[in-house]
């Protein structure tokens, strides 16, 4: 099998497991909507504060969902010795990384689509310029999924992984939070020209961490 066929096999497996477990639909999406509601209650909607901070709130909520997604992605490998079975499977470490990161990216994109509806409805936000918003969101999601998968396997064999992953991961993805928030702000303001440099930054981040992940995931899986 080629690299991409192997990655598709792993991604299909992870997505099937998530579809069955219904963790995204029944836990992560409600969690995201609750976070948006809490912000709506905490910040005064009458003064237009929510519209101004909506991009930042959106991406912070996505980061929190990423932590849950990463935790899920590696929790399924911890049951029944599945991680050893994955190591014994004969699949290349790069393929496993691409597969797990792709599945996580798909899950995040579904979550972001639903969350976008929530932001538009609850915060009364108007998405003026869609192309940079969509491209920036895809790049940011790929970068987050790649980074999350890399740090997920790094902490996979550690007992305190649930608390360690956020400490390690959140500082690294700070550029994504910054770039994605700025590109969303520009898109909402209807000034797409200001958004594209941030979209480019998100693209560079995604390419960088996909590359690092493909190189590092295999050895890290061996040590996990």
């Amino acid at each position: 099998m080629s690299l991409f066929q192997e990655a598709a096999l792993v991604a299909g497996k992870d997505l099937r497991i998530e579809a069955r477990a219904k963790v995204i639909g029944q836990q992560i999406v409600p969690f995201g909507l609750i976070v948006l509601l809490l912000f709506a209650f905490a910040l005064d909607p009458d003064r237009g504060v929510l519209q101004r901070v909506a991009p930042g709130l959106f991406w912070i909520t996505v980061l929190l969902a990423l932590l849950l997604g990463v935790s899920r992605s590696f929790a399924v490998e911890a049951e029944n010795g599945a991680r050893d079975a994955l190591r014994m499977s004969g699949l290349d470490g790069s393929s496993i990384f691409l597969g797990k990161a792709s599945a996580l990216a798909v899950e995040l994109l579904v979550f972001e689509a639903l969350l976008t509806v929530g932001v538009v409805v609850l915060f009364d936000v108007r998405l003026a310029s869609l192309p940079p918003l969509v491209v920036g969101t895809v790049f940011a999601t790929v970068g987050l999924a790649a980074t999350g998968t890399l740090y997920g396997v790094l902490a996979a064999g550690i007992r305190a992984r649930e608390t360690l992953v956020p400490v390690l991961l959140l500082p690294v993805v700070a550029p994504v939070l910054l770039g994605a928030t700025r590109s969303w702000e520009s898109s909402i303001d209807g000034v797409p020209g200001d958004a594209w440099p941030w979209v480019a930054l998100l693209g560079i981040f995604a390419v960088l961490f996909v590359g690092i992940g493909m190189l590092a995931f295999g050895p890290l899986l061996e040590e996990s």
Binding site: M1, R20, D84, R87, S89
Partner: protein, 240 residues
Amino acid sequence: MPLVVRLRSAVCLLGRFPALAGVDLDVAPGETVLLSGGNGAGKTTLLRLVAGLLPLHQGEGEVMGVNLAEDRRSHRSRVAFVAQDTGCYEDLTVRENLRFATRAAGGDDARVDEAIDALELGRLADVRHGKLSTGQRRRLALAVGIARRPDLYLLDEPHAGLDAPGRAYLDQVLARAAEEGRSVLIASHELEMVRPFASREVVLTNGQADGALDAAGSTPAPAPAEAAEAVEATTLEPTP
């Protein structure tokens, strides 16, 4: 004929504890070797070392021509490691678990169907792993190993949890492996069930191979004092 497994003075540390403290072992093609010994003797560690799941800290180790000190991964697609955990996913069905493991090893759905038929898992094919009984899970784990069509089986307490038909099929697997020239390294406490299929038995005690019954290939393990020195000299740096 080249050996399938060749270990010389193999040392494997779990933390700082020498789970294997200088083991010599040969397994020839088509040979079935029984590993016996008490709890904590090092049987599972030896299987995991041969599988490449644990690093070789000292000594020499080769599995199907792959030097374990340099490469712990290349031989894995030719090995089926049936461990005490099934290695399967709770939310996937029997068929989906089998399909994933088989495709990962380069196999097709025909092999999946064969394994399901062989272990009489047909009526459970669409049942999730999480809903299976312990015995059914053991059957599935065995089916995954068979579907991979390995050159080397590593079986860790394979009889545990199996009912009479499952044990009967395991006997068939062991008999067929010998006929087809596949090698088997089997760790078990159920010696009477395995001995009829084993060409020899290696007894492990405190991480050392005490001796082998009719051991044509194995050489004696180093004396405890030598092994202790070897462990002492280990740098604690795992090989890649």
